[in-house]
């Protein structure tokens, strides 16, 4: 087969190649994703017959022309993709697929981490998820244990209100800080500000969300803000991983969220949460968001005020640690 087909590597800057890939995938009902950093195609007489792509460590947009299926073209594409990523020192690859392809993908070196009715999440590192679960800091408590997953970009009084409320209703409260570094405030800072701002709450544990809680691994669209038909599947999968494995491991029986007046995707995610969590015996608790005189307090509003240098308004909306961080970032020029 080697002489019959040609192989082409298409990077971010090859717009013609990306265009051709887009139209090939479209012909087999797959939507090309603009965040892809590498595409590998097999062509015959200059026509694409098979394609596979990746965005960082996530394999996406796998498609083979129906006439050429069962020729093992995916074996070629996966071999090359693994080798290509290996050269970039990216070793852990993951992907989402439909149940009907689970066996095929498994034969290409992938293991099923979690599956729902509609989707299978697979990784090529057999023990990565197990190790993640083992490394979660587990605290003992005989009473009720709650959890909140937050981005804290950066932590505001609105977040703190939700944390205090949840902390008062539980013996132990885990705060998972989303660790994906795609937010304005870097993870290390978001984490540190959360620690400092919750010092007074003795039953609150702040931990790193890692790769399996709203990360680009388990929930790619959350970061690309690319609304597509996979959103529903990603939400389901992320929440199933949380309920079935993470909450179980840490004995979490309640998950809190604040009402979301702005972001459609977050709202949708919360809605799915209210449906999925109870299936695993976890209470979904929605808390009305804290309002200031300018409406609901949000991190984006806080960032905007910091950008505008309105530290007077800002001071009333954030914990001291966040205030100091934003001021110092701004060189303190606008302090009034």
């Amino acid at each position: 087969m080697f002489s019959e087909y040609k192989k082409e590597y298409i990077d971010r800057y090859n717009s013609l190649g990306r265009l051709q890939t887009t139209s090939f995938l479209k012909s087999i009902n797959i939507e090309y994703d603009e965040n892809i950093d590498i595409t590998i195609n097999l062509t015959k007489n200059d026509t694409i017959i098979a394609s596979a792509s990746a965005e960082k460590n996530l394999i996406k947009c796998i498609g083979v022309n129906p006439e050429f299926r069962s020729e093992g073209l995916l074996n070629t594409l996966f071999s090359d993709l693994v080798a290509y990523k290996y050269n970039q020192e990216i070793y852990n690859l993951s992907l989402f697929t439909k149940a009907e392809y689970e066996k095929l993908i498994s034969s290409l070196g992938f293991y099923t981490i979690c599956k729902t009715e509609n989707i299978v999440f697979m990784e090529n590192q057999k023990h990565k998820f197990e190790e993640y679960l083992e490394n979660l800091p587990k605290f003992k408590s005989d009473g009720s244990i709650g959890a909140i997953v937050m981005n804290l970009n950066p932590i505001t009084n609105g977040h703190l209100y939700l944390i205090e409320k949840a902390a008062s209703e539980n013996d132990l409260l885990y705060i998972f800080v989303v660790s994906e570094d795609q937010s304005v405030v870097p993870f290390e800072t978001r984490y540190r500000l959360a620690l400092e701002s919750t010092k007074h709450l003795k039953n609150v544990v702040i931990i790193k969300g890692g790769d399996y809680i709203i990360s680009s691994t388990t929930f790619p669209s959350y970061f690309s803000k690319n609304y597509n038909h996979w959103i529903n599947n990603y939400c389901e999968l992320d929440l199933t991983i949380f309920s079935k494995y993470i909450a179980k491991k840490l004995n979490i029986s309640k998950r809190y969220v604040g009402t979301e007046p702005y972001c459609q995707l977050t709202n949708y995610y919360n809605q799915k949460m209210s449906e999925i969590l109870p299936n695993y015996g976890i209470d979904f608790i929605l808390i009305e968001r804290l309002f200031s005189e300018n409406g609901a307090i949000s991190a984006s509003q806080v960032r905007k005020l910091a950008d505008e240098g309105d530290f007077k308004t800002l001071k009333a909306l954030v914990p001291e640690a966040t205030y100091n961080y934003l001021i110092s970032k701004n060189g303190g020029l606008n302090e009034s």
């Binding site: 074996n75 070629t76 071999s79 080798a83």
Partner: protein, 87 residues
Amino acid sequence: MNLKRRAIAGTMESSDTMIEIIPWEKSLEINLKSDVEKQYGNQILDLVKKVLAEDNIENACVNIIDKGALDFTISARLKTALYRASK
């Protein structure tokens, strides 16, 4: 042989095998996925263990994705992966 880094050799093409070596403090773990696992799984594992033993490899994770490769192919891929991992 001293393993210094993770390394890979081979492909997932038909009749080939892709082998990854990861230095690992725990023990020796061999994960085999093979299209012919039912018929030849044990034979492949024996071969892999033999090659590893020749180089005194006791602490490593060895991931094998086999597509029906013959013994000498498996052996060659494994030796190449080991060589790369030891560089």
